[in-house]
């Protein structure tokens, strides 16, 4: 049996009030959602290790990522024309409002912060359900979004708000899709939240709208967040091949696209940790085959495009597509390598430490090896068994792999290995700086798009800039007065040696 995502003691901690049935959180029996997840995981990974691919945060550890709510919000928020309503006291939304750099090519509603802002009286009197319904009405009247996603959080799940029922009622009353996303933080890690979000899409969104123009070249991209607009580096390539992205979930998605995603012929799974269950279920329900791929790195990008074409052809697209892909790959690869040559001699042999999660751990490793850099270590936290296998194949040395670690451990490791640069997320940026190691953001707050061929060139450029910034020299050196006098600094600065002749000479 797979690992349970809800810890028993958390369930026991619920108050003994008479509460309505909340699917997905009922314990100690496993809920339907968890069963689905367990099944999905087991089928995909088929190893006993799979139990650990989706683990809970360890107690007292500050190093872990966000909670289940955070995970759910991250996955769904990039759907741009949806109003994301957080049913909670202010903190959940207040602290996470607009904290990801996903990019939208159109609607900006997703960046507006909606919350029911529950206060003590709402919670004590149980008025929160009514408040939720009212909030949904106000959103509908004020913003008329394509849909409203309602997030259940610790407080509302603890007091037993029946969000399902409220959403159902609201959807009927206001004639708008209202999707419950039950993601209490105590449910588990951020990763669990990711999957909860996937389940919510499966249960309430995908398949609810019929596409009037399904075609043999329609695909879904799953687990692509369009951070810094990086999916837009890939889209033109797909366009050139005549492949239509029916739905990119969730990056720059529209509700209707997601709702009709079941009519695609094939899917690419980008961040498998986040949405593997979604891919698996879509394959089961609608016969949409998928593969796991990455747009980071030149060969990964080529491989991904090739696999997309193969799946489409298998599903009935014209086999000429395979030739088109090869022609495009050859052309794009050549161009990218040409551009990368400029960086190769500046970066070759430079040593990199990666501290990022999930899919990026192996796909970036691959990309960096491609430009001749040496990997000192990479984190495999939040990576699936498959991710890990891939890394092992590439690095051929398991010592380079490490699990999630506390800041102090990471610091010690950086001090020991002294890599030339660390690539990570914002949370460990400052650990790198304290260890005097150049740092580049490759996570959600990054400012540059790294996907595809153009993205790889950009990554190389940014690594080059970061490594060669003059501030590192200052960072590594002690203050000059703490150095030995032997440093090449004349005792008397030359600026002393001047005369008044200058004052009269050379005026303009």
């Amino acid at each position: 049996m797979g690992r349970r995502f809800v810890r028993p003691h958390a369930l026991n901690a619920w108050p003994g009030v008479d509460r309505p049935f909340v699917p997905g959180l009922e314990g100690p029996e496993m809920s339907s959602i968890e069963t689905q997840m367990r099944d999905a995981s087991a089928k995909i990974f088929r190893t006993t290790e799979a139990k650990e691919t989706c683990h809970n945060a360890s107690q007292g550890s500050a190093a872990s990522g966000g909670c289940a709510f955070d995970g759910a919000k991250i996955v769904l928020q990039p759907i741009t024309d949806v109003a994301h309503l957080v049913h909670a006291p202010l903190a959940c939304e207040g602290n996470s409002w607009d904290n990801r750099g996903a990019a939208s090519s159109g609607p900006v509603l997703w960046r507006t912060s909606f919350t029911t802002d529950l206060t003590e009286l709402d919670i004590v009197t149980g008025d929160s359900e009514r408040k939720l319904l009212k909030a949904i009405r106000e959103i509908k009247e004020g913003y008329a979004p394509a849909a409203i996603f309602v997030y259940g959080t610790c407080v509302t799940e603890l007091i037993g708000d029946d969000i399902d029922a409220v959403c159902r009622q609201a959807a009927q009353k206001f004639a708008i899709p209202v999707v419950p996303v039950k993601s209490p933080g105590f449910g588990g890690s951020k990763n669990l939240g990711n999957r909860r979000a996937g389940e919510a899409l499966l249960e309430h969104v995908i398949g609810t709208v019929e596409a009037d123009d399904p075609g043999p070249y329609d695909i879904n991209i799953l687990g692509e967040f369009n951070l810094s607009g990086e999916f837009w580096l890939m889209k033109p390539l797909l366009d050139r091949l005549g492949i239509r992205v029916r739905a990119c979930i969730p990056g720059d998605a529209r509700y209707a696209q997601v709702a009709s995603a079941h009519r695609s012929r094939a899917a690419m799974m980008v961040c498998s940790t986040a949405l593997i269950n979604l891919a698996r279920k879509m394959e089961e329900r609608w016969n949409i085959p998928f593969f796991e791929g990455s747009f980071y790195g030149i060969s990964s990008t080529s491989e991904a495009l090739r696999r997309i074409a193969q799946l489409l052809v298998r599903k009935g697209a014209g086999s000429a597509l395979l030739h088109h892909v090869e022609a495009l790959l050859a052309e794009e690869e050549e161009r990218a390598w040409k551009k990368l040559e400029a960086y190769r001699h500046r970066l070759e042999g430079k040593r990199v430490q990666l501290n990022t999660g999930g899919v990026k751990s192996w796909s970036i490793v691959h990309a960096l090896i491609e430009i001749g850099m040496e990997i000192v270590g990479t984190s495999i936290r939040k990576s699936t068994t498959r991710d890990k296998e891939r890394i092992k194949q590439m690095l051929k040395d398991e010592n380079h792999l490490h699990q999630s670690m506390a800041a102090s451990e990471l610091y010690a490791m950086l001090r020991e290995h002294k890599p030339d640069i660390m690539l990570s997320g914002g949370r460990t940026q400052f650990v790198a700086l304290e260890a005097k190691i150049p740092w580049l953001d490759v996570n959600q707050e990054r400012q540059h798009a790294y996907a595809g061929y153009a993205g790889m060139v950009e990554l190389a450029r940014q690594i080059d800039l970061a490594i060669h910034n003059p501030v590192w020299a200052q960072l590594r050196e002690p203050a000059p007065w703490k150095q030995f006098v032997t440093t090449a600094r004349s005792a008397e600065p030359r600026i002393n040696m001047r005369s008044a002749d200058e004052a009269t000479a050379g005026f303009y």
Binding site: W97, D98, N99, G101, A103, S104, S105, V108, S228, G229, G426, Q429, F430, L433, L440, D441, E445, Q447, Q462, L465, A466, H468, N469, P470, V471, W472, Q474, L475, A479, P480, W481, K482, A491, P493, I495, N496, R498, S499, A500, E502, A503, A505, G506, F507, Y508
Partner: protein, 510 residues
């Protein structure tokens, strides 16, 4: 009607009303005899070309928008840094009004200076009578401890002899014989405000030092800041650093209080400044340190003649600039640089590292006084930026050589150009033909910002159209933080403006 008593419009919206627009258009057509729009447009586009740039840079006689001021302005500023000192500018009155408004508009503080108000008869017969009456009035009306005399061009052209005139005035009883009236000849047709500053400070030192015997005092250090629009913040920061190190020093010419008086109901014509007693003591110092080399060349020569050790810096800011300054202070004062300053330094480096990706590879146009441009270029390179255009209208050949040496010392100086003696109209061509990401200068840069679409960071005197920047230091590590913040703010503001309506990259976290 565009204007009504119920809702009186400010000039900003008022002149955009259709009535005014129409009036302006009519006036232009009927009275301004304008060139056709097409011709104007073509000429405008011509100014963007390399061809125009060549012609522009080849200008020999005409100066357009110079980035410098005249000697007496520097002298008036210098005098404001001494205890109860009234600036007395011998010459025509209008000049003095300029210095006062210039300083007032920058510091947002009253600025007092008097003039001998020479008129036509004085020009013909000499200004002795003006000096005699002027000194007497100044002494009686404003109760100064010292009157610092400088000159305008008018007095210099007719050749008035300050030394003789002041003697005569004292003999006539304008001021008591032992009253201090230091002076400096400050013709505007030589050099710039930095030289006027130099002459005035030297004049004041000579006045107090000439008749005493020097008794060298080990480890006593004089600091001369130079002409600095940020003196309010900078002087206080420099003094804080020196106090933290436990250095014994005389801060010669400290205008930080004069140009930052509190509003408590009392009008202070004089506030703060270097005590006259301290100026006298300063002669015995072991060393005199100038924070701005090109502001103190004559003064330091004089100090050396007296046997003092001297050292000069270029507006010490950023990491390297501050390091050198502190180490020199440490060496001369025999005081260790304490841990707290070490931490300040570490914090600045930390901040620079935090923001490095935003500054890396940015190109800058920098103009201002020679020392300022030098240190800014150096700081920019410390952050991984390129000081593409370094321009000082009052820069000398020596400055140019020194700049080139600085640029050659860093890979980020490659391709950077030094423009000594060029004006802001030249900068316009430079920015149009070789664009940069940021322009560092003063308020006058706003026209360049408009014409060339280069974001302007106001970091040097004069800043008329923004308030209170001068209250924060630029020098030292603390100043470095301020500098970093101001530059980053501009970059982020620009980025937000750029992305605000397109929306995609209008990010909360940057």
């Amino acid at each position: 009607m565009p204007q009504s008593a119920e809702k009186v419009l400010d000039h900003v919206p008022l002149f955009c009303e259709p009535e005014y627009e129409k009036m302006f258009a009519r006036k232009k057509l009927k009275f301004e005899c304008p060139h056709p729009d097409k011709v104007v447009e073509a000429q405008y586009e011509f100014t963007w070309t390399w061809e125009y740039r060549e012609k522009n840079l080849a200008r020999e006689a005409l100066v357009v928008n110079p980035a410098k001021a005249c000697q007496p302005l520097g002298a008036v500023f210098a005098a404001a840094g001494f205890e109860r000192t009234m600036s007395f500018v011998h010459g025509s009155q209008g000049c003095v009004a300029y210095y006062r408004s210039h300083l007032s508009r920058h510091f947002k503080e009253p600025s007092s200076a008097v003039s001998s108000s020479m008129t036509e008869d004085a020009a013909v017969f000499g200004g002795l009578k003006n000096m005699i009456d002027g000194l007497a009035n100044t002494y009686q009306l404003y109760d100064p401890k010292m009157i610092a005399v400088s000159t305008t061009c008018m007095a210099e052209v007719i050749g008035d002899d300050l030394h003789g005139f002041i003697e005569n005035a004292k003999n006539e009883g304008s001021v008591p014989a032992d009253f201090d009236v230091p002076f400096a000849h400050t013709p505007a047709f030589v050099g710039s405000h930095v030289d006027g500053y130099d002459s005035m400070v030297k004049g004041i030192l000579e006045n107090f030092w000439k008749s005493t015997e020097r008794v060298p005092t080990p480890a006593l250090i004089n600091i001369i800041p130079g002409f600095d629009g940020f003196c309010v913040g900078n002087n206080r920061e420099i003094k804080r650093l020196l106090d933290t190190m436990g250095v014994t020093y005389v801060f010669i010419q400290d205008a930080s209080d004069q140009f930052d008086t509190p509003s408590d109901g009392e009008y202070r014509m004089y506030d703060g400044g270097t005590k006259i007693e301290d100026v006298k003591v300063a002669k015995h110092a072991e060393a005199t340190i100038s924070l701005q080399h090109y502001n103190t060349r004559k003064t330091l020569d004089y100090c050396r003649e007296l046997g003092q050790t001297t050292a000069s810096f270029h507006y010490p800011l950023g990491i390297g600039g501050t390091d050198e300054f502190l180490m020199k202070i440490s060496e001369l004062s025999k005081r260790e640089i304490p841990e707290s300053i070490d931490r300040d330094r570490g914090r600045l480096i930390d901040a620079m590292a935090d923001s490095q990706s935003w500054l890396h590879g940015k190109k800058y146009g920098i103009y201002g006084d020679p020392d300022f441009v030098y240190s800014m270029a150096r700081f920019v390179m410390e952050t991984g930026g390129h000081p593409t255009h370094c321009l000082a209208t009052n820069g000398t050949a020596a400055w140019e050589a020194e700049m080139k040496e600085l640029l050659a010392s860093s890979p980020f100086g490659g391709g950077a150009q030094v423009w000594a003696g060029k004006d802001l109209w030249a900068m316009r061509s430079l920015l149009l033909t070789e664009p940069v990401d940021l322009l560092i200068g003063n308020s006058y840069g706003k026209y360049l910002e408009r014409d060339t679409d280069t974001p302007l960071v106001r970091l040097t005197f004069p800043i008329f159209d923004r308030h209170h920047h001068h209250r924060f230091p630029l020098m030292g590590y603390q100043g470095g933080l301020r500098l970093l913040t101001v530059i980053l703010d501009k970059i982020f503001d620009e980025l937000d403006q750029e992305t605000m309506w397109e929306g995609v990259s209008y990010d909360l976290t940057r």
